[in-house]
Structure formats: structure tokens, C-alpha cells
Symmetry: C3
Subunit: 151 residues, 3 copies
């Protein structure tokens, strides 16, 4: 099954590729790697998950936020390379979690992205990952994710 | 026009490549990518922008800090590869902003680096970027930036 | 001398490769680069250094934590590629330090990793590095480190 079909079957739809928040490009090919800019959980121009995980929103909502970030990463990758089928491997996912003081479940939040990628891509979706807490993110986003894939 | 000429025309001068703050190298070539270490806004050994953006310094000063970080990235790249003309593409810029609680304009701060790169390199300067807030940075720098370029 | 012999001579032992905290892989080869997931200072399943550097633990303990993270990075790399002798160059080390408010000695903490790598690998161990402070890390780890090496 094609990646986008799987995506739909899982109840998702590939979003419109978000416009960068500022003076940069959303994705770029260098050699056989595609790098994305940091993606926040926006959909159709609206921030879906704001504030600090562990205070303003729950870890479960944080997972949903990470899922939206991952979808946005895939969307900007598709816009750059034309077709998600070209992805040979998801290489690296870096997850910045807007974290309340004392919140240490960044891995759980990041799983919102990681589990979606494995559901979609199977073994090719298994990536290395760093998840860290930060005290603030752009436009008060709950999560920001950047991705590297191999094509 | 050569990159360094453009730099001068824009009123900048490529700084001396800063010495690493510790046991690492400032830039390194792997394949056709050049990776830089994280650069802080120092010039001639002096930290120009200290403290938290949104409290100790303004977003506009933060932009200036990001500009100095980007110049330092270019300087250590030049020292490693000999000539900025060899840069085929600025691939990725990661911007860590020392952020006051409640400060969410990291993209604006990061534009200090991104806009300079596009002015200097044109389309080749268009990069992917992540900008995140952090609660502390080395030597209380206001901004830290790392860069990947393709040669 | 082989890398693992040097490691032993320096009084270290390559740890068991830690199991990822969640749904991802600990290391992965793409082209001639090996990327690791973010590693925290765990040993045999137990977190050795918890809390904020500059409050809960000292900078010197933070250095020890960074050393353990680096050993874990090497361990997951070995598990992926079979032999540390295949490493041609340590390319990049990114160090996230769980930082108390006002703690700005992230470079000192990160040296725990950097100095070990240079002792082990000599010139091949000289890498670029970013060290930043963050307000929270997974499972309250004091340090998290990710690594890229060239094979």
C-alpha cells in the first residue's frame, strides 16, 4: 500500500505544507538526504497545541501535537521531493518539547511522532531520535520537530 | 560579486574565527558537508550579546546576536575550507535562543542569521532552520547557532 | 592499540547498549554516517546522574554524566556497525545539559564527552560540538548526548 493510502487508512490526511514562520525554506535536499525545518503543530495556519506540556496541556495532547508536527514534516518533504514513496529511510527525528518545570516525559510525547512513522513506513520508518525539553518555543507551540530522511 | 565583497558591501567584516570554548574543533568536513560547532556572539574574544532575549535584551538585539553567530559560523567554515566561494548551498541552521519566560519570538531572532545568509548567498543561502528557546546557554550568550553547508 | 583496549586502559568498560526509552532505534547508518539517538547517563538500566547541573549535581558530576552518555553512544554505534575500529572520524556531538537557572558552564560539562573521545580516538576523535542548556530532560537525566560519526 502507498504511504499516503496508509496515512488515510490510519485516519490522517497529509496537511497542506505549512509556510515557514520566517526567512527560510521548509525542506531541502542535500545529497540523498532531505532535511526539514522545525515544524510546529499548525494546521491550515492555526496552532493546534499551545503552551507547556505538563501544565497547559497533558502528555497525551503533547503526543497529538507531535503527530501533527510529524505530518507537517512529511508534507514539506513531499512538496520538496514530489512523492513520499521516494523515502528509503526515516533517519532522524529531533523533538523539542515545550516543557513545564518538572515535566520529564519527553519520550512519551515524542512517541506521537515516532509511532506514526513506524505505522506508516514499517521498518523504513525506524529512526534515531532525540527528545529534549525546552522552556519556550516559537509562537508558544507545544512541540517542534525536525526530520532527516534518506531518499 | 564574491561573497566576502558582498559581506563588506553590507557593512560587515568576516570576523577572526573564534577559538572553541573547550575541547572540540570549530568546523569539520565530512563528505561534501561542512559542520560547524555551535557559535555564540563573540567578537575578538568578547561576548557581545549576553542574557535572555525578552528580558535582558530586546528581540532586535537578539537578531543582531544571531547575525554575529552566523558571521562566526562563516568564519570557521572559511578557516576550514579556505574560501567561502566553495559553498554550494547553506543546508541547515539551528538557532538556540536564550529565552526569558514567555518569550516566543525565536523565529524573529533567528531571522538575524537567515536574512544575512540569503543576502550573501542568494538562492544558495536558502536553508532549513530550527529555532528553539532554551533556558541557559554557554557563558550566558543570548544566542547559539550551528550550521551545515554543502560544498 | 584498539579503541576498546584504550577504553579499558583509561579505566572504562564499554557498557551494554541501552535500550531506547521509546519507539525508535538507538543507532542507524545512512551513507557513511552513523547517527545515534540521544543517550542519557544510564548504566545497566539505572540512571546514574539525575537532576539539574548547577543545583542538584555539580559541574564535575555533570562531566561524569557526559562521559557516560558518550560511552553509551559508542556502545550503540558498536552494536550497529560491529566494531569501533570502523570509525574514521567523530563528526558531531550535541550536548543538552539539564541546567539550573543561572548555570552557564555547559561547555565544561560537555568536555566530559569531548575529552574522552579525543583520548580514545586521537585526531579522529576531534569533532564539532554544540552544548546548550535545557530546562528538562527525559527521566530527569542530567545530560543527553547525540553523536554523528563517519565510517
Amino acid at each position: 500500500m502507498m504511504i499516503e493510502e496508509k496515512l488515510n487508512e490510519l485516519g490522517f490526511k497529509l496537511p497542506e505544507a505549512p509556510t515557514p514562520l520566517a526567512a527560510y525554506v521548509p525542506a531541502l535536499v542535500s545529497g540523498n538526504l532531505v532535511f526539514t525545518a522545525g515544524q510546529v503543530p499548525v494546521s491550515e495556519g492555526k496552532l493546534l497545541y499551545a503552551g507547556k506540556v505538563g501544565k497547559d496541556i497533558s502528555p497525551e495532547e503533547g503526543m497529538k501535537a507531535a503527530e501533527v508536527c510529524a505530518l507537517n514534516c512529511l508534507s514539506v518533504i513531499k512538496k520538496e521531493i514530489g512523492d513520499l514513496e521516494k523515502i528509503k529511510r526515516v533517519v532522524k527525528v529531533t523533538v523539542f518539547v515545550n516543557s513545564a518545570n518538572g515535566f520529564t516525559e519527553q519520550p512519551k510525547v515524542a512517541n506521537g511522532a515516532s509511532e506514526l512513522l513506524v505505522k506508516l513506513f514499517g521498518d523504513k520508518g525506524k529512526h534515531v531520535r532525540s527528545a529534549v525539553g525546552v522552556n519556550e518555543l516559537p509562537i508558544d507551540a507545544a512541540v517542534e520537530i525536525e526530520m532527516i530522511v534518506e531518499i
